[in-house]
């Protein structure tokens, strides 16, 4: 049997001699992979943020601004007496501001914010059982003097919704692009096989097995898949940086996963899916061709 090196060389040769079609297939496959990659990285990031904010299990209860600090402390005590409340921490206006400053981590923005409405006194509530969240929030809201409730849990919920939406949309697009990729690769291989039909017919007439005829073309499809995966990895690396930097500027709490932590997983996943898509794309065309005999192959 011929070696892997020989087949790879054959595959590369085929890709080169049919380069217009090959480039077209590579472009489609690269876009498919990049889209999938960015979408998955995005949802992994959101997942991580959701996880970290969800775990803190802290709900901020803002006290109406016309209440004095003493009254506010009293309200805090009242909240603490609720069944599902584990503990409460009281933050004065000044402390709340200090925490917020840490959170946004941007002095200029902070200076601007200070000119506006100051933050109210805040009671930070930790609940015993998060599944009773809605009922507990309703109870807190009924207490005289409570203005508003801002919960990270709600943020987590919003983020999860966004992530699910992004996932659903990108799943649809990925599915469509994968099918397109498979067919364009099938078409590319069909063109190569057509240009090699004379050799194929001779091979078959001297008794070459179908697998012998098949492998160089399968290799061509897999080489296209592999080249695409390399390009897509680079593309994702660059795009990810750009997108994440932009998001981080808008939402400082969004702590992103550094690209270098994940790039090798991305590369591996791309290589596998690229090669698999290339393989099946080629197989479609090869199957059709190998069913033919003699002059049928030549179209005579």
């Amino acid at each position: 049997m011929r070696g892997f090196g020989y087949l790879t060389k054959e595959g590369l040769k085929n890709v080169w001699s049919n380069r217009i079609m090959s480039i077209a297939s590579i472009c489609v496959l690269v876009s498919c992979l990049i889209l999938t990659g960015i979408a998955s990285l995005f949802s992994i990031n959101i997942g991580k943020v959701v996880d970290s904010v969800g775990k803190t299990n802290e709900t901020s209860v803002y006290i109406k601004k016309d209440y004095s600090q003493l009254e506010a402390v009293y309200i805090g005590k009242e909240i603490e007496r609720l069944d599902n409340v584990e503990s409460t921490t009281f933050l004065t206006k000044e402390e709340a501001m200090e925490q917020f400053k840490d959170l946004i981590n941007d002095d200029a923005l902070f200076a601007e914010m200070q000119g506006r409405d100051p933050l109210p006194d805040t009671v930070v509530v930790v609940m015993k059982d998060l599944s009773l969240y809605d009922q507990t929030v309703a109870q807190i809201k009924k207490i005289e003097g409570v203005d508003d409730i801002n919960s990270h849990t709600e943020l987590a919920k919003t983020l999860t919704d966004i992530s699910n939406l992004v996932n659903a949309i990108s799943f649809g697009i990925t599915l469509a692009l994968t099918i397109v990729s498979i067919f364009i690769i099938a078409n590319t291989i069909r063109v190569t096989m057509y240009s090699r039909r004379f050799e194929i017919s001779i091979m078959k007439s001297v008794g070459a097995t179908n697998s012998f005829v098949r492998w160089p073309f399968l290799m061509e499809g897999m080489v296209i898949g592999f080249i695409s995966s390399i390009l897509a990895t680079c593309g994702v690396g660059l795009l990810y940086e750009v997108i994440m930097t932009a998001i981080q500027q808008m939402l400082p709490i969004f702590v992103t996963i550094p690209i270098m932590d994940v790039i090798w997983y991305v590369a591996a996943a791309f290589a596998v899916s690229g090669v698999v898509i290339g393989f099946f794309g080629s197989l479609i065309s090869i199957r059709k061709y190998l069913k033919m005999e003699g002059n049928e192959i030549l179209g005579w």
Partner: protein, 247 residues
């Protein structure tokens, strides 16, 4: 070696190419197949090569009933056969050596075997000094000899040639059939389709006449019935003239 039992072939478009053909070719025979255009000669060869399957009847090659042969086994059946085409079918961008080596590579022979076997076979067909030439630099007769070398290189038991002399001049035709007789003398079974009755008469081998899909006659004299001539003088009687040379 090759046994046709009541074989009929009807193409999917309804053309009846062969009717009820029963024929047997032994190991080491040299058989000419003649007949008018469209008689079914090529169909007969395609059935042997398993390029087409019979509509009914049985074809046994080397003890294998080919209709029951699994698809994946067909290539191994073909390795017993060397095929020569009327139009040579050489790969233009490869030189003579590579064209012949192509058939060995296709069946997975290692280069160490190829590099000694190819020059040997090219010597047999008298083209050793043209090994590095491209097919376009050769005459028709030389190209056909390359094609013959390619058919021979895997040491087949049967050579099947569909009008191998159709595209070369009469002198070359003679030379090619001469070459085939030499190969036949070494024990290879040869089946040649031809339109050139002069050649058939001259070599005096077994002649199978196919007419409208039927075997009209199967003897060396038959060619004259077919031609409507009565020149028996230079055609010895079948089967006395058939050389059956064991391995």
């Amino acid at each position: 070696m090759i046994d046709f039992k009541n074989v009929s072939k009807t193409y999917p478009n309804g053309t009846h190419a062969l009717y009820n053909v029963s024929l047997s070719i032994d190991k080491g025979e040299f058989v000419f197949i003649v007949g008018a255009s469209g008689a079914g000669k090529s169909t007969f060869l395609k059935l042997i090569m398993h390029e087409e399957s019979p509509t009914s009847g049985e074809i046994v090659i080397n003890g294998t009933e080919t209709t029951r042969l699994r698809r994946s086994k067909v290539p191994y059946l073909r390795r017993h056969m060397g095929i020569v085409f009327q139009d040579f079918r050489l790969i233009e961008k490869m030189n003579v050596f590579d064209n012949v080596a192509f058939a060995m590579r296709a069946v997975g022979k290692p280069y160490s075997v190829i590099k000694s076997r190819v020059p040997y076979v090219l010597e047999l067909v008298g083209l050793k000094d043209k090994m590095k030439n491209k097919p376009s630099e050769l005459s028709g007769g030389e190209q056909q000899r390359v094609s013959l070398a390619r058919a021979l290189v895997n040491n087949p038991e049967i050579i099947i040639a569909d009008e191998p002399t159709g595209n070369v001049d009469p002198e070359m035709s003679h030379e090619i059939i001469e070459l085939l007789t030499e190969i036949n003398a070494k024990g290879t079974t040869i089946i040649v389709v031809t339109h050139e009755h002069e050649l058939v008469r001259e070599f005096g081998k077994r002649v199978v006449v196919i007419d409208h899909g039927r075997v009209k006659s199967d003897a060396s004299k038959a060619v004259d019935d077919y031609l409507g001539e009565a020149d028996y003088a230079d055609i010895p009687d079948y089967p006395d003239n058939v050389e059956v040379i064991p391995d």
